[in-house]
Amino acid sequence: MSPVLFELLIRSIWETVLMTGASGLISLVFGLPLGLALVATDRGGIAESLWVNRALGAVINGFRSVPFIILLVALIPVTRLIVGTSIGTWAAIVPLSIAATPYYARIAEVSLREVDHGLIEAARAMGGNRWTIIREVLVPEALPGIVAGFTVTLVTLIGASAMAGAIGAGGLGDLAIRYGYQRFETSVMVAVVIVLIILVCGIQWAGDRLVARLDHRA
């Protein structure tokens, strides 16, 4: 591989890590509260409100049903509004975050829903309010699942970020298409695949380690 290509590879890795990390973080910040809202407003939840629950569910399903490549293009005006441009790595973070947030909200919802109702009742019996129940019971008890779900989301985002090349965001997927496929640079293709495998394995390994440390359910 020529030094030029190697430099491109390094830059692409950085772009992929940036896109995945930033949109992952954003999806955590917005998706977790959304997941909490879904569980809390559902029937028998700590803030039961069925119409809020249905409306939230419908919006989340709406975003999740649009294929990412279409979302990428459809959100261009929004992206331009937020980032100032619709091209480049930072511009790709907007649609990636918007796609990953409802995805992660659903994953977090599943973990939060699994928290034993008896624990919530115990906290209520102790005089806990909604906020303390969320802080002391729901989130800590669901934390292993919340972290495991975040790992899954990050890995999914690495895949999705490959498509972001379509709006000039760069990244490993873009590199593989333009150099590995269209210019027959097999070594680039192989290098990209290896880097992706390492990235995915690394994220999964770190996530699993963290889950094991957090999980005291035995």
């Binding site: 624990l119 209520r124 019996a125 102790m126 359910r217």
Partner: protein, 361 residues
């Protein structure tokens, strides 16, 4: 340990104005068409252990959950320390719930928190500083005998240890009342005994009022002062444990007592026929003074004629002897039989002719 126990007794002395910690009047609650509570009135006196017993589905859980507002009655009133709480909003209930500790059948400990953090949680919800929380947790873990497990996670504890942590947690905020929701139902008999002994000990040393629900008469027998029997959402019978044991009035109470009171052996029961002929089988219930008297030897002296003790036993409930004996009175002599019955009744025993058995028993 003694110091903090004394200190607690001291702050408790000023904690309640009313002698009744709980007073329920005509509590009703329906789930769909079925009434879970159908007009329950009940009081729990300060310092006592009141046991509520009933089969599953009798309304016990709904009842106990009305006391801390986890469940709302459709009608009726719930007074806790003289204050009506059934119409209070969630926000107003929160400080009140801190006056009421609760323990659960499945313990409901937080798996993500250590034992000491679990115990300290009620204080954290109250916003107390960390040092105070941990000091109180250490004190309580000492009380329940689990000091060495302070840093462990609940998953590593046995069922009995988990319930001890549950008890320590329920006491953390110095409650005026402890609610126990089938707290020993998931435990083996030996662990059950040790948990009940702990509850009794806490009741005596801290003067803590306890209301427990259970479906096991053995639990009532071991620690309750008074018992209320609930069936189909109604209190069908209540009173001091020994007197309900000695003289159960309702069928449900008799059936719940069945497991721990002597019963006529099935082999004899199957051969019983009504009317005369063969040995008469008598069931004799005695309690208190009647059970202390030499009843059977007096009977033998007064009325010669063979009788045999078929089955029976005398138990001690709240230091009172409570017994049930099954006698087979031989012969076909109706006159003799009525004399025996009259003699026993004169000695404060309750007598019932169950029937007759042909041939030898």
């Amino acid at each position: 340990m003694n110091q903090h126990v004394t200190a607690e007794v001291a702050d408790r002395a000023y904690s309640t104005a009313s002698e009744d910690v709980v007073r329920l009047t005509d509590l009703k609650r329906r789930f769909g068409a079925t009434p879970a509570l159908d007009g329950v009135s009940l009081t729990v006196r300060k310092g006592e252990i009141l046991g509520i017993i009933g089969r599953s589905g009798a309304g016990k859980s709904t009842l106990i959950r009305c006391l801390n507002g986890l469940e709302r009655p459709d009608s009726g009133e719930v007074f806790i320390e003289g204050r009506e709480i059934s119409r209070l909003g969630e926000r107003e209930l929160q400080p009140l719930r801190r006056r009421i500790g609760m323990i659960f059948q499945h313990f409901n400990l937080l798996s993500a928190k250590t034992v000491e953090d679990n115990v300290a949680l009620p204080l954290k919800l109250e916003g107390r500083p960390k040092a105070e929380r941990l000091a109180r947790a250490a004190e309580l873990l000492d009380l329940v005998g689990l000091s060495e497990k302070a840093k462990a996670y609940p998953a590593s504890l046995s069922g009995g240890q988990k319930q001890r942590v549950g008890i320590a947690r329920a006491l953390a905020a110095r409650p005026a009342l402890l609610l126990s929701d089938e707290a020993t139902s998931a435990l083996d008999p030996e662990t059950t005994r040790s948990i009940l002994a702990l509850l009794k000990d806490i009741n005596r040393r801290l003067g803590l009022t306890i209301l427990l629900i259970t479906h096991e008469m053995e639990v009532i027998r071991s620690i309750a002062d008074r018992v209320a029997v609930i069936d189909a959402g109604c209190i069908v019978e209540q009173g001091p444990v020994w007197s309900v044991f000695a003289d159960p009035r309702s069928e449900i109470t008799k059936s719940l007592l069945g497991g721990i009171r002597p019963q006529l052996p099935a082999e004899i029961a199957s051969r019983l026929v009504p009317g005369a002929g063969g040995d008469a089988i008598l069931r004799i219930d005695v309690a208190g003074e009647a059970a202390r008297a030499p009843l059977l030897s007096d009977l033998a002296d007064a009325l010669p004629g063979p009788f045999r003790l078929v089955h029976g036993g005398i138990d001690h409930v709240q230091q009172q002897p409570v017994g049930t004996l099954f006698l087979a009175v031989a012969g076909n002599d109706e006159n003799h039989l009525s004399q025996v019955i009259a003699f026993l009744k004169a000695r404060q025993a309750r007598v019932e002719v169950l029937g007759h058995v042909a041939g030898s028993v």
